[in-house]
């Protein structure tokens, strides 16, 4: 889609800015709800939090699937955020920025893999 402003300037774009802006907010909402749901179970429990209570929260298959979705939401959310940070501050060397963006992706995918393994090993 291209929009013509005035007589000379043609503004074009992939509109990925809007998509990422919205994705960042939707993933934030998912993670916020998940946080409140998990914390609530710890707060309403009586006495000290033991292993059974803590591991029990993640025991059911549906909870594993929900947690998996949250991990993927986190992955996307952090990617958008880190990319914004790198685009704002690493401006002198585009090559260095690319390198850091690659590092961010590897770091995030690695962490997500580990978290998912922990989840389904239970």
């Amino acid at each position: 889609m291209s929009v013509k402003y005035g007589s000379k300037r043609v503004v074009v774009g992939a509109h990925y800015g809007l998509r990422d802006w919205l994705a960042q907010r939707v993933t934030a909402g998912i993670m916020a709800l998940f946080t409140v749901a998990v914390l609530a179970q710890l707060l309403i429990a009586k006495g000290p939090i033991g292993y059974d209570l803590w591991a029990g929260i993640f025991a059911a298959q549906w909870m594993k699937i929900v947690t998996f979705s949250v991990i993927i939401a986190l992955l996307y959310h952090v990617w958008v955020g880190m990319r914004d940070v790198l685009m704002d501050y690493v401006t002198a060397h585009v090559g260095l920025r690319l390198l850091l963006q690659i590092f961010t992706i590897v770091w995030l995918v690695g962490c997500a893999g580990w978290a998912i393994q922990v989840l389904w090993r239970l």
Partner: protein
């Protein structure tokens, strides 16, 4: 060639000499500016400490034995690193999460409420955000270090 790109026009001055160490501390940052930069700082902290977060999830949830190990790391320590160092790292994460969470809700509120996008609301909600995140951090720090 368009008028804008004419090489005859003198180059406009650029000021890119802001030094982060000598100039930035002389600025008086408004509460909204603090919330904004701390949102970034807290996000990057959580990104860098992500392996530690997953290590905590792994050891606390995998088995009874690893759960006991998880507790021992914070109460006794691991290797030559004493337990309170781990508690301090956990506290940094607690603050980072609380700040990021509250500042994020502030963002969502301003995205969905047009009347919230004013200078007054920005300042008020920024102070509220800092009060909530720092206040809860102090409460949880006291719990973490066994004051109650």
């Amino acid at each position: 060639m368009s008028e804008l790109a004419s090489p005859l026009k003198t180059k406009r001055p650029e000021f890119r000499n802001i030094n982060a160490l000598t100039d930035l501390p002389t600025y008086r940052m408004a509460p909204a500016a603090w919330v904004s930069i701390l949102h970034r700082v807290s996000g990057v902290i959580m990104f860098l400490l992500m392996p530690f977060i997953i290590w905590m999830f792994d050891t606390s949830v995998s088995s009874e034995i690893s759960f006991a190990k998880f507790k021992a790391v914070f109460n006794i320590g691991a290797g030559f690193v004493p337990g309170f160092i781990f508690k301090l790292v956990a506290l940094a994460l607690i603050w980072a999460y609380l700040h990021h969470f509250t500042a994020g809700l502030r963002h969502l509120w301003m995205d969905t409420h047009h009347d919230a996008v004013t200078k007054e609301f920005g300042a008020k909600s920024a102070k509220f955000t800092l009060a909530i995140s720092l206040g809860l951090t102090v409460v949880l720090a006291a719990k973490l270090f066994g004051l109650y």
